[in-house]
Symmetry: C2
Subunit: 243 residues, 2 copies
DNA sequence: CGAGGGGTTGACGCCGATCAAAGCTGGTGG
DNA sequence: CCACCAGCTTTGATCGGCGTCAACCCCTCG
């Protein structure tokens, strides 16, 4: 929908268009966290940082842009769009995860469409750079494995938690996921719009709305500020288990 | 349920309990396919082969046996068992795939319970052996990444195809998956029992039975021999798309 | 031959999809 | 500042799909 917007993130005078990963303050979370600083001296192609507004399409399925993205801030949804236009959200990813890793295994284009849910900051890393660094640094390869394993665990959780049970149970599970993985410093999380939630758990928008509205009435879910919400975790866990 | 049955596969006189991976005739499919023969001279711990009868439990979730398994023949289901006993099949895997890879990323025990669906032959590889080989052979690490990526793709397909649509559409999708990935030399596939199918797509056993029986009546699905079946792929694709 | 396990079929009631309409909210322009 | 509109959310009404319970069939095995 929205075209790609590339906005440089580091606005200070020393910003050159490179990411300065070796100085990155959240580097522990990122793709290169295992690498010694010296490794970056070998990098030829630049690693740029970008900010994307909500709704931006980071990449589309089957296109082949030759970039891996490491998420620094915000939420990204990976969407599968069927030939008939029906879209289903396959995964929701936050800071410290990487998307587009399928290109490293020689995939012919991305496997999903990636869309920014809220304000997203990310590092754009050329595939060639990763392959180059992997040559000399086995720990990067193992880190990639770990990221893949994490995503596999997420996918499995998705299948189990969001694909089973009544609509009420699934919505409860979804809110618990938002609370667990996407809470920000204030201890609250952004409540996705009903359409996105419906696309995640495979039920109708109206049904999601009913459940969420119900949770709000029961004070299981309450507004913190703006569209940030908090929840009663135990109540939701009860619902997710036995209805 | 069934206790682990370890049956040696190679019965010839030279069989010593090792897998002789370097001579394995289906080695191209297996975990070590990228490695030069010389690499196996470094291996200290043995790699054993086993055969398991249908229903055998290969390992249980949260146990920590320190073994990766590479599937040579047969189908393995990865099962998630909820605290309340409800089980859900998360993935169905066949020859050339590996299970238990989560141990390589330092997971504290297996993430699922693995159960043989039919006769299963597999190689049992100690985690320490993989780690040892990974040290000197980066291509093994990359092969592990590829296996993980394949499983991630499978999981995504599972979410999209088997978690969406009416019961009729899901069963059609499931049969298509069996046909595509688990057909044997005779061009037919084993039709799973209704309980397993229900656990895969998250619907009631009776509903699965109704749909399968219906497909049989419509000659979309027909017995080849024994419990091997063939299907009309196009008819099923039509059903999976629009009902 | 009877028992038992899996598969099939029927009856019924409820959950949730669908269609429709009415609040709510934020943005825009007069 | 208010009117208006577009998009999102909420709520209601209706109907069909599917979960549930139950009976029965078929095959295998003791």
């Amino acid at each position: 929908m929205t075209s790609e917007l590339a906005i440089t993130f580091c606005t200070d005078a020393t910003w050159t268009g490179r990411a300065h990963c070796e100085k990155c303050h959240i580097r522990k979370l990122m793709l290169f966290s295992e690498l010694p600083t010296s490794a970056f001296e070998e990098v030829l192609q630049p690693i740029d940082q970008y900010m994307y507004p909500p709704g931006s399409v980071l990449y589309e399925a089957h296109t082949h842009k030759q970039f891996i993205y490491s998420i620094r801030r915000g939420m990204v949804k990976l969407v599968h769009i069927a030939p008939d236009g029906v879209s289903r959200i396959v995964r929701l990813l936050g800071p410290g995860t990487a998307i587009g890793l399928e290109l490293l295994d020689g995939a012919d284009g991305y496997h999903h469409t990636a869309i920014a849910v809220n304000q997203v900051d990310l590092c754009k890393i050329p595939v060639s750079t990763i392959k180059q660094l992997e040559d000399g640094h086995k720990e990067l390869c193992m880190h990639v494995s770990k990221l893949l394993q994490d995503q596999l665990d997420l996918a499995d959780q998705w299948i189990v938690a969001l694909g089973t049970g009544t609509a009420r149970q699934r919505v409860a599970q979804l809110v618990l996921v938002l609370d667990e993985f996407f809470s920000e410093d204030n201890g609250a999380f952004i409540l996705l719009n009903r359409e996105d939630m419906a696309a995640m758990i495979g039920i109708a928008v109206e049904t999601v709305s009913r459940m969420i509205a119900d949770f709000k009435r029961q004070k299981i879910l309450y507004r913190f500020k703006e569209n940030y919400y908090q929840c009663n975790t135990e109540a939701l866990q009860d619902i997710s288990r036995q209805g």
